[in-house]
C-alpha cells in the first residue's frame, strides 16, 4: 500500500561557519552574515520519506515555517523529489519557541492526509530536538525518535531501529506515527536535473508579489495585486505554485502562537568569552617538558 509522508523542515543559519563578522558587538548573532542552509538532518528525514515513496508509492509533502526566504529549501526538496511544498509564513509566527512552533505545525499537518510525519532529529541553530516529540504529542500520535533505520512497513504497521546512544532499540508501532531521523540513517540524494529544470520556477505567492514589485516599480498597489493574482494562477496551472498558509488559514488559536504562545523567553544573551588564564609557555625541549611533568607531579595533578 502507498503511504503519505509529511516532512517538517527548517532553514537554519550555517552555525558551523560562524566567523568574526557574524557576531554583533552585543554578542548576538548577525543572522544576515551567515549563509542560510537546509537543516542537515532534515535532509535525512526527506530522504527517508522519498525512499518510502520509491518503494511503496504515495506522496511526499514538505512543510516549513519561516520567512518568505525559506521557500529556497522547499524548492530544494522539490528538486530532490518531493511532490508538494507548503510555506507557513505569518508575522505572528515570529518569536515562537519550540512549543508554539509545534502547535502551529500541528495545525497545518492536521489539514493533510498523512500516515507518517518525519522530522530531522534536531536543527543546528538550537540543537534542542524538541519540536519532533512536541509535534507528535500535539497530533496525538506516537513518536519514534533517533531513527537510524526503517526496518519494515506492512499495512498499517511500521518497525524501525532507534539509536539510543549506548546501543539500539527496535520498535514496532501502528500508523500514524512521527519519526525523528538522525544523520546516520542514510545519504540524502542530490537534486535530479529534470526536476530542477521543472521546479526552479516554483514560487510562493509572497515571492511572486515581491518579484512583481521589483519588475514594476511604478505600478500601483492594485496593479501589483492584479499582476500577482494572474501569475499565481499561471503557476498553479503549471503545478509550480508553492502553497503559502498563514495563521488565519490554519485557524490557529493565537494565544498558542508566536511570542504569546511561547513560555520560554530570553533573559540574556552573552557571547562566549574565552576566560584568560594564568598560563605558561613551555619550551618544547626535553628539559622544559620534564620540568612541567615534575610540577604536575608535585601538585598531585599527576599521581
Amino acid at each position: 500500500m502507498a503511504y503519505n509522508c509529511v516532512v517538517a523542515i527548517k532553514q537554519v543559519p550555517d552555525t558551523k561557519r560562524i566567523i568574526g563578522e557574524a557576531m554583533n558587538d552585543d554578542g548576538t548573532v548577525n543572522r544576515g552574515a551567515l549563509p542560510a542552509i537546509f537543516n542537515p538532518e532534515d535532509l535525512n528525514a526527506l530522504e527517508m520519506a522519498l525512499m518510502i515513496k520509491d518503494k511503496f508509492g504515495g506522496k511526499v509533502t514538505v512543510m516549513t515555517m519561516g520567512l518568505p526566504a525559506a521557500s529556497a529549501i522547499l524548492r530544494e526538496s522539490l528538486y530532490r523529489g518531493a511532490d508538494d511544498a507548503i510555506l507557513i509564513t505569518d508575522r505572528r509566527c515570529g518569536a515562537s519557541d519550540t512549543l508554539a512552533t509545534s502547535y502551529i505545525l500541528s495545525c497545518a499537518i492536521k489539514k493533510l492526509d498523512y500516515d507518517i510525519v518525519l522530522c530531522g532529529r534536531q536543527a543546528i541553530d538550537g540543537d534542542t530536538a524538541q519540536v519532533g516529540p512536541q509535534l507528535a504529542e500535539k497530533l496525538g500520535i506516537p513518536q519514534i525518535t533517533y531513527v537510524e533505520e526503517l526496518i519494515s512497513l506492512e499495512k498499517k504497521t511500521i518497525a524501525a531501529r532507534r539509536n539510543i546512544g549506548n546501543g539500539w532499540q527496535e520498535v514496532k508501532c501502528k500508523l500514524p506515527v512521527l519519526l525523528t531521523v538522525i544523520d546516520e540513517a542514510n545519504d540524502p540524494r542530490v537534486s535530479v536535473a529534470k526536476k530542477l529544470m521543472k521546479c526552479k520556477k516554483a514560487r510562493t505567492p509572497v515571492e511572486i508579489q515581491m518579484q512583481m514589485k521589483q519588475d514594476n516599480p511604478n505600478a500601483s498597489d492594485d496593479d501589483i495585486k492584479q499582476l500577482t493574482t494572474a501569475k499565481v494562477k499561471e503557476l498553479e496551472e503549471k503545478g509550480l505554485l508553492i502553497k503559502q498558509w498563514d495563521l488565519d488559514y490554519l485557524a490557529a488559536d493565537l494565544q498558542w502562537c508566536g511570542r504569546d504562545g511561547s513560555p520560554t523567553k530570553v533573559h540574556r544573551i552573552q557571547s562566549v568569552v574565552l576566560t584568560a588564564r594564568e598560563s605558561k609557555t613551555i619550551e618544547p625541549s626535553e628539559q622544559g617538558i620534564a620540568d612541567m611533568v615534575h610540577e604536575l607531579i608535585s601538585d598531585k595533578t599527576i599521581s
Binding site: 512549543l99 520560554t264 599527576i302
Partner: protein, 340 residues
C-alpha cells in the same frame, strides 16, 4: 500548564533502566538541592518503573527530601507516552515549580512530550541552572530558574526563563553537573503514588534492544588525553594512546578526529560528545573549536600541544607547548616514565 507556584518543590526525573539508576539523576539532584535550598523548598525525585522502590533510598542519599515512586507492571520499560502521562498527572497533583531531566536519549524523548502535554516551557541541554530575577518594563519576576545553555553551535550563551507557564523545565547533559557528596543521615520521605496507565498508553512494541558498554569512561577519568585532526592519521593517533597509557588516562578525541576515522565515536569530547571535567586535560593537535571547548573547558588544568601559535585552544590552556607533536609527545612519555 500550572500556575506560578513559588512554594512548589524542585523535581528531578530519576532515570532508571532495568532497575539500575542512571548517574545523571544523581548529578541533577546535586544541583536541585542547591536550587531548593535557595528557594526554601523541598527537593523531590520522580522514580518510575516496576518494582523499583528499593532505588528510592539512594536518591535521598544524594539530596532528595522526597521520592515519588510510580510503580506499575506496564511501566517496566520506558515509553514516552506512558511515562509522559504519569508525569503529567503527578505535576498537576503536586504543582512543582521546577522539573529537570537528563538530556539523555530517554530524557530528550520524554521531556518535550511532557512539556507539550502540560503546555509548559522547556529548555534543552542546559549547562548551568541558577535562581535569579527577571525584569520587564511592567514587572519584576523574583526567583526564577535561569536556564543557561549554549546556542548557535556554542557561539553564544543564552539564559532562558519562563515566568508564567510553569513548571519551569529543563534538560541537562550528562557530566555537566558534578556528582554531589553522599549524605546517608538525611531525613526523607518516600511517597508511593497510585498511577493510572493502560495498554493504550503503550503504543510501541519493543522488539529488540541491544545496549553496549561505552568503550571508554571519559567522565570517570582524572586525566584525559585527546587528539584532534592535527594528529594526522589513525597510525599516528598511537601517540595519543601511548601518552594516555603512560598516565593511566582515558583517550579522547575531537569530532574532526572521530569523523576522520582516527578513533571510535565513544571517545568524542565536546558539545555533541561527552562533557568532561578532569584534573588534567591534554589536547594534542587540537585547534580548539568552540564545540570542543564546550566539552572540556572546565578541566582543572589544560595542556595544549600545537604547532600553530594562533590555535584558539592555546587561549584556554594553562600550559602551552608550541611545536611538533611528534617530537613533544614522546618527550612527555619519557619524562613521565622517568618520574612516576
Amino acid at each position: 500548564m500550572i500556575s506560578v507556584n513559588p512554594k512548589g518543590e524542585v523535581w528531578v526525573f530519576a532515570e532508571q533502566h532495568d532497575g539500575k539508576l542512571e548517574d545523571i539523576g544523581l548529578e541533577l539532584l546535586g544541583r536541585a538541592r542547591i536550587l531548593g535550598d535557595k528557594l526554601g523548598v523541598k527537593v523531590g525525585a520522580v522514580l518510575i518503573g516496576d518494582e523499583i522502590k528499593s532505588l528510592a533510598e539512594k536518591l535521598c542519599h544524594y539530596g532528595a527530601d522526597k521520592v515519588y515512586v510510580l510503580e506499575h507492571p506496564l511501566l517496566e520499560h520506558y515509553q514516552a507516552n506512558s511515562y509522559g502521562k504519569v508525569i503529567d498527572d503527578l505535576v498537576h497533583k503536586y504543582q512543582p515549580q521546577i522539573m529537570i531531566y537528563g538530556a539523555t536519549a530517554c530524557g530528550r524523548d520524554l521531556a518535550p512530550r511532557v512539556a507539550s502535554a502540560i503546555k509548559a516551557g522547556l529548555t534543552a541541554d542546559c549547562t548551568d541552572l541558577q535562581i535569579g530575577d527577571h525584569e520587564t518594563k511592567e514587572q519584576v519576576y523574583k526567583n526564577l530558574l535561569l536556564q543557561i545553555r549554549p546556542a548557535f553551535g556554542g557561539n553564544i550563551i543564552a539564559t532562558i526563563i519562563n515566568y508564567d507557564r510553569w513548571p519551569q523545565m529543563a534538560t541537562v547533559r550528562e557530566g555537566v553537573m558534578p556528582m554531589p557528596e553522599l549524605i546517608t543521615a538525611r531525613k526523607h520521605e518516600i511517597v508511593a503514588e497510585k498511577v493510572h496507565v493502560t495498554h493504550d498508553d503503550l503504543p510501541l512494541e519493543i522488539l529488540n534492544e541491544h545496549k553496549r558498554e561505552k568503550k571508554v569512561n571519559l567522565k570517570a577519568s582524572r586525566i584525559v588525553v585527546s587528539g584532534g585532526a592535527g594528529v594526522g592519521s589513525k597510525e599516528n593517533f598511537k601517540l595519543v594512546w601511548d601518552l594516555a597509557n603512560a598516565l593511566g588516562a582515558a583517550p579522547g578525541a575531537t569530532r574532526a578526529a572521530v569523523d576522520l576515522g582516527f578513533i571510535d565515536r565513544d571517545h568524542q569530547v565536546g558539545q555533541t560528545g561527552t562533557t568532561v571535567r578532569p584534573s588534567l586535560y591534554i589536547a594534542i593537535g587540537i585547534s580548539g573549536a568552540i564545540q570542543h571547548q564546550a566539552g572540556m573547558s572546565d578541566s582543572q588544568k589544560i595542556i595544549a600541544i600545537n604547532n600553530d601559535p594562533q590555535a584558539p585552544i592555546l587561549d584556554i590552556a594553562h600550559y602551552k607547548i608550541i611545536g611538533d607533536l611528534n617530537e613533544i609527545v614522546p618527550k612527555m612519555i619519557k619524562a613521565i616514565k622517568a618520574r612516576v
